[in-house]
């Protein structure tokens, strides 16, 4: 996984609360192979009208937001369905960081597993960042090591689980960490089969 250290990039404001994963990628696109790329499906029904043309005033479609690698949104970003395809759509589009006051838990976990930083900020800081980006179109700098976001001369802190921070900084993959725990897992299962014999399904 690609590590995340610092990022200075164009940010796009999405002034909506509860952008759920059904919005991030509508279900009908999820039959496709990841190899085809999911970027074109990102926020599809908000970005495109029924005839497939871009909705000009939707933030991501504005000229000032082209090439954005950062999104700033309102509370509860990524709520709902556990579909990791929502993260694939963001990542394949080119987004590497989402800044919001709160995230759906499953979405946040999926993000970290794909090198996408879910940066939690205060509601007032999120509003201020959106206003700043909206007015000046300025670039935003995200520093994961220092846990700061800078835009328009202001710097604000952001929160992230310390374990997720380390994982993103190092680009770690959980599976490799877990395979190193094989002995601990074997000790657990040996003890567990005595303590909870009923936990294994009966074969009818």
């Amino acid at each position: 996984m690609q590590p995340f250290y610092r990022l200075t990039a164009t940010a796009c404001p999405l002034p909506y609360a509860n952008i759920d994963t059904d919005q991030l990628i509508p279900a009908r696109f999820m039959k496709r192979s990841r190899a085809e790329g999911y970027g074109g499906f990102l926020l599809h029904d908000m970005r495109f009208s029924d005839d497939g043309t871009e909705i000009a005033d939707f933030p991501l479609n504005r000229i000032s937001c082209r090439g954005s690698q950062i999104i700033v949104a309102r509370r509860n970003f990524g709520a709902g369905s556990s579909r990791e395809a929502a993260v694939y759509a963001l990542v394949d589009y080119g987004i590497r960081c989402v800044i919001a006051p709160s995230f759906g838990d499953i979405f946040a976990s999926n993000s970290v597993n794909n090198g996408l930083l879910p940066a939690r900020v205060d509601e007032t800081d999120a509003e201020e960042l959106m206003r700043s980006v909206e007015e000046s179109g300025a670039e935003v700098a995200v520093d994961l090591e220092k846990q700061t976001i800078s835009a328009g001369g202001n710097t604000v802190p952001f929160a992230i689980d310390p374990v997720w921070r380390l994982k993103l900084l190092n680009g770690w993959d959980d599976i490799d960490l877990t395979l190193n725990q094989a002995d601990a897992i074997a000790r657990f299962t040996a003890k567990d089969s005595i303590q909870r014999p009923w936990a294994v399904p009966r074969v009818p």
Partner: protein, 472 residues
């Protein structure tokens, strides 16, 4: 320390402790997974497995179920090749890994969160995961169920474990007696409306109180199912005699003396008297009215006796803009009475409300009446369908003018082609009223099965209590 293995513990603490393999200094804990359900959407995870040349580590704890993409009209129709491919991929991935599959033509097929409990695969004290956010459903049995993404599905397939940080503990207590016509769906929507769609984020929720204990297992499943709509990591109800009675003689549950010994264990799981929670919420069950959603998030729920909110009266500009946006999408007017909202169709089904009790509640309202709008009834599993037909419920739905179809996720998520048409308004027993959830441009109002039945009869959002009164 509250919640330590030696002190008084909550139900969740007990499950956490019994699954922790190793805890790192930074608090990350490796947990053992007892059951892993996979479905058609799990193909990304199986592809990750293939990339590593790995196989499923514990096929005996992994179960495949075809539900998200399965057609609900199966005889004599050709299936869309892209949808057929999703079903074929699941068959291929499970058989290649020796994983048992409840496939399209299996008589036990159904929605994963209906089939798990029905087959006795869901048991108290288990840690259950699935690449589906409504895995919280299984908490109805005092199990710890939660949804995970594809990377985590791959991790569980390869290791039967998962790294987690311990969530905070929240107790939601609902005491009092529910009024006639009010059910688990109304309790759940009341909670989401009260605390918000992110109100339980980062928390493991335990539901307690006399109104919760009084719920049937079906009702508890509906309640725990909707935990994720409040953002919770999971939702649980402590196992009791009702739980034990439900599980006895289920195919995959322990049998004979093994069952009795297991049951003794399960009845020791409820929260200790002195145990503490990080957050407590209390609701009065007797005050809960039938709820419907008016907006595009499950938190946008109101009693049917009220009106659509007016953004002009909301001082918070962000919130007002959000309401305005929702009302535009839903084509509703500020201040409009909810009972004045006309609907185009109904849907009864989904992992939230498709169990036998849900079908009975809807059929009771529809019996001897005609639906003014078209609609689909999709039972939660093929066995629920069989049971409903044995009780003659299918005839009630058909005589009312609704379509009685096979089991699957169907019109809740629209992946199989069962969609609400653009601009159409659907009264639905499902879990999400997100924009486009039931199809592009679809407008969804979530409510209980009885309330959907009432809406079908009148062609508009309706207080089911009036239709119940007419009968008495």
């Amino acid at each position: 320390m509250a919640g330590s293995p030696s002190g008084p513990r909550t139900l969740f603490d007990k499950l956490w402790d019994s699954h922790a393999i190793v805890t790192r200094e930074d608090g990350q804990t490796l947990l053992w997974v007892d059951r892993h359900f996979v479905h058609e959407g799990s193909f990304h995870a199986f592809n990750k497995l293939k990339e590593r040349g790995a196989k499923v580590a514990h096929p005996e704890l992994t179960f495949g179920i075809a539900d998200h993409y399965v057609p609900t009209r199966r005889s004599g129709r050709s299936i869309d090749p892209a949808i057929q491919n999703m079903i074929d991929q699941l068959e291929h991935n499970t058989s290649e890994n020796d994983v048992m599959l409840f496939g399209l033509n299996d008589p036990r097929q159904g929605i994963v969160h209906v089939v798990g409990p029905e087959q006795g695969l869901t048991l108290p004290g288990l840690l259950i995961v699935c690449g589906d956010s409504h895995t919280s459903t299984h908490g109805a049995f005092g199990a710890w169920g939660f949804g995970i993404g594809a990377s985590e599905v791959a991790h569980v397939l390869m290791t039967q474990t998962l790294w987690q940080r311990k969530p905070k503990r929240m107790r939601i207590t609902v005491d009092g007696t529910l009024a006639p016509g009010i059910g688990a769906k109304d309790i759940a929507l009341s909670i989401v409306a009260r605390i918000g769609a992110d109100g339980a984020q980062g928390h493991a929720v335990e539901y307690a109180g006399s109104a919760i204990c009084a719920l049937s297992m079906e009702g508890r499943l509906t309640l725990c199912n909707l935990s994720i709509e409040a953002g919770a990591r999971c939702g649980m109800v402590a196992p009791d005699e009702k739980t034990i009675a439900y599980l006895r003689d289920r195919p995959f549950a322990p049998a004979g003396d093994d069952f009795e010994r297991a049951a003794e264990n399960w009845l020791r799981l409820p929260t200790d008297r002195e145990a503490e929670f990080d957050l407590e919420i209390v609701l009065d069950g007797s005050e809960i009215a039938p709820l419907v959603t008016w907006g595009v998030s499950p938190e946008d729920a109101l009693p049917i006796t009220t009106a659509v909110p007016d953004p002009a009266s909301i001082p918070d500009m962000g919130k007002a803009a959000q309401i305005r946006d929702a009302l535009t999408y839903m084509d509703l007017k500020p201040g409009q009475k909810l009972t004045d909202v006309r609907i185009d169709r109904v849907f009864i089904g989904s992992c939230t409300n498709s169990r036998i009790e849900d079908l009975r509640a809807a059929a009771e309202v529809l019996s001897g009446r005609k639906a003014k709008v078209p609609g689909l009834v999709s039972p939660g599993s093929s066995l629920v369908k069989q049971q409903a037909e044995a009780e003659g419920l299918d005839l009630i739905f058909k005589e009312a003018g609704l379509e009685w179809v096979e089991s699957g996720c169907s019109m809740c998520v629209g992946m199989n082609g069962d969609v609400v048409q653009p601009g159409e308004r659907c009264a639905s027993t499902t879990n999400r009223n997100f924009k486009g959830r039931q199809g592009p441009g679809a407008r969804t109002h979530i409510m209980s099965p009885a309330m959907v039945a009432a809406a079908a009869v009148t062609g508009q959002l309706t207080d089911v209590r009036h239709l119940i009164e007419e009968r008495t």
